[in-house]
């Protein structure tokens, strides 16, 4: 789980913060409600997760709420990774 969270954190920091932006992304940092990732950008984040973890996240589950922190995203990925391995 720690590796998963680190990978998400690193990706969000690299892709969604400008170079020189000194904000720290913690596991509980609000991403959507905090304005770091918007609903349009969620699409590329979802695409990254699906590609990297070989999962499919249905659009109905890719809600702003489910993407609002590294913690929540990790839980979502874990849930669909379990689905993928069970099927």
């Amino acid at each position: 789980m720690d590796d998963l969270k680190r990978a998400i954190r690193d990706y969000v920091t690299r892709e969604y913060l400008e170079e020189g932006d000194d904000r720290e992304i913690a596991d509980a940092t609000p991403l959507i409600s905090g304005g770091i990732v918007d609903s349009f950008s969620m699409v590329s984040l979802k695409r990254f997760l699906e590609k990297r973890y070989h999962i499919q996240i249905p659009d109905a589950d890719a809600t702003p709420d489910a993407f609002d922190s590294v913690d929540r995203i990790a839980a979502l990925v874990t849930r669909f990774a379990a689905h993928a391995s069970a099927s």
Binding site: D21, D38, F40
Partner: protein, 572 residues
């Protein structure tokens, strides 16, 4: 003949000469009778003079629970102080001053400040990437940019390419952390300026410069003047139904025209309290905000409404939203399901309103009390002469139900006066004495307009217009991309999202990695709105014999529509 509001329905609109409507607004405001003809003054000083100095003008909150409140007197005081500060920093009348800020109080108050010191305020969406920002600042010859620490890296990246940019003002930084040419300021710490004199603007002095996208070329700056105020005041009063005791919430970001015309000028010129939530979307968060603030009038957008619908009626029932009394929507056509849903869950319908950056104010609308035909745009506002025009002759279509171009007879006060540095593009918007909106619609026997679609290749995503040319240009900057075309594809939430068709240069092969890399490149350079949500790697693009890419063919494929005349298309 031109279609006007009809007296045959129960509409509260009355048929009257268009000039009479705006004269009425001017009379209510005392516009042109000796007071400064300045939007900044009208939105603050005049409201104080009318006895509402102690009424909250802005109640602001962010996602972290921080809260700031400004009364109209504080709004007057802080905007005076900010305007004076801009003057002391060497900025003068008619200079373009960009607000590149999230929805923080400095954005709302800074807007009035720039106007008070006679500058032209240029608000830009803070999610714009560095290339989109540069395009708009370069075109406007912007003298100063007011921003936040978090957006400073983007500004620094392009600064060397902006020779006319003299000043970068950062509203939340320590001076020690800034570079030469960058100045820190704190709005609340600026000294009060008693006796501040608003710049002597007149009705036709330029006020606001909003950039909007077209099919071809760079984004165009629609230039407005202070005379827009009576139109924004009256439409806010009669369409949004704003009253002095309302608590008003406009979801739009002031980086776009709704966020200034009706997120600043409309409510404040009416002396109405507005609430602002600087946080991303969340159904619970939004309903809790409405409940806690006691919001009475809510101006939202179809995309947001569809997101709320997706989360269901159960969420709504957890909150007491009985304070709501009037709901409006803007940005894209409001689908009938959204109107029915809002009636069911809020007990109130959303009223669709139609207008655009260039019109400056609402032009076609569903007025309070008017029978709503779900899915219709409504009828022309009393001061607006609108018609559906034949696309070949530009003459009004007299038979009902036949689609044509939406035309507006020029002359309403809030209409743009120019496209910045682009008289040819401005002239091209007029035919046969009509201003063409670029949208197609039909009109029924009761005078209600029904949206059909855009008349160009501009993509309306989430209520924002995105130009395909700007996306295609950015795509071509990617080392793997040989040719590109960007079109809108249907989306259940955003109406349209961007889809890109790309041919690759020799040595590059399609892959998921490449798709994601290109998506993120566009998002960073332009904006999240412009980022293709899907990229199709294709061997070739449809073109005319002269080599022009036929976007309409790709778009028609996405929408399942007939592709039309292909006689000019080049065969592979």
């Amino acid at each position: 003949m031109p279609l006007r509001p009809s007296s045959s329905s129960a509409s509260t609109a009355t048929p009257e000469a268009t000039t009479g409507t705006w004269d009425r607004a001017a009379a209510e405001l005392g516009w042109g009778r000796g007071d400064p003809q300045n939007i900044g003054w009208y939105c603050s000083d005049r409201i104080c003079r009318n006895g509402r100095a102690s009424v909250p003008a802005l109640i602001w909150e962010n996602h972290a629970g921080e809260r700031r409140v400004y009364t109209f007197d504080q709004l007057r005081d802080r905007s005076d102080a900010f305007a004076h500060h801009l003057r002391t920093l060497g900025l003068g009348p008619r200079e373009r001053i960009c607000l590149f800020l999230d929805r923080v109080p400095e954005l709302y108050i800074g807007f009035l400040s720039v106007l008070k010191m006679g500058g032209i305020v240029q608000p830009l969406f803070s999610a714009f990437g560095d290339e989109a920002l540069w395009t708009r600042l370069d075109d406007a010859g912007t003298a100063a940019i007011i921003t936040q620490r978090k957006h400073l890296p983007k500004v620094r990246k392009i600064r060397e390419r902006l020779p006319e940019l003299r000043l970068i003002l950062v509203v939340d930084a320590d001076q020690a952390a800034l570079r030469p040419g960058e100045r820190a300021m704190s709005l609340d710490a600026l000294p009060t300026m008693s006796g501040f004199e608003v710049h002597a603007t007149d009705a036709e002095t330029p006020s606001v410069l909003h950039y909007t996208s077209g099919t071809t070329g760079k984004p165009k700056g629609a230039l407005h003047v202070h005379a827009s105020l009576p139109a924004q005041y009256l439409t806010a009063k009669e369409v949004l139904d704003l009253r002095p005791d309302d608590i008003y919430w406009c979801n739009a970001d002031p980086g776009w025209v709704t966020g200034t015309s009706y997120g600043i000028i409309g409510p404040w010129s009416n002396g109405t309290t507005q609430v602002v939530l600087d946080a991303g979307f969340g159904s619970d968060r939004w309903y809790e905000f409405i409940q806690r603030q006691g919001v009475t009038v809510w101006y939202s957008a179809p995309t947001a409404i569809r997101l709320l619908m997706r989360d269901g009626a159960e969420v709504v029932r957890r909150y007491d939203l009985s304070s709501l009394r009037h709901l409006c929507s803007v940005g894209e056509p409001l689908n009938p399901e959204a109107v029915h849903w809002s009636r069911e869950v809020f007990g109130l319908p959303f009223h669709d309103t139609f207008w655009q950056t260039e019109t400056g104010c609402i032009v076609i609308t569903n007025l309070p009390g008017m029978p709503i035909k779900a899915g219709s745009m409504g009828r022309p506002f009393a001061g607006i002469e609108a018609a559906v025009l034949d696309p070949k002759t530009y003459e009004p279509i007299t038979d009902t139900g036949r689609a044509g171009l939406i035309g507006l007879r020029p002359g309403w006060p809030a209409m743009m006066r120019a496209y910045w540095n682009n008289p040819a593009a401005y002239s091209a918007k007029f035919h046969n004495g009509w201003y063409l909106c670029g949208d197609r619609a039909s009109c029924d026997a009761d005078g209600y307009f029904w949206f059909v679609g855009r008349d160009d290749d501009v993509i309306n995503t989430g209520g924002h217009l995105v130009g395909p040319f700007e996306i295609e240009s950015a795509l071509l900057e990617h080392p793997a991309v040989a040719e590109s075309a960007a079109v809108g594809k249907p989306d259940p939430i955003n109406m349209e999202v961007v889809k890109a068709f790309v041919t690759l240069k020799t040595g590059f092969a399609p892959s998921d990695d490449l798709e994601l890399e290109i998506m993120n490149t566009i998002r960073r350079r332009l904006s999240p709105l412009a980022m293709p949500q899907e990229i199709a790697f294709v061997p070739s693009l449809p073109k005319t014999r002269s080599g022009k890419i036929l976007r309409r063919v790709l778009r028609a494929q996405e929408w399942g529509e007939p592709v039309g005349d292909l006689s000019t298309m080049m065969e592979d």
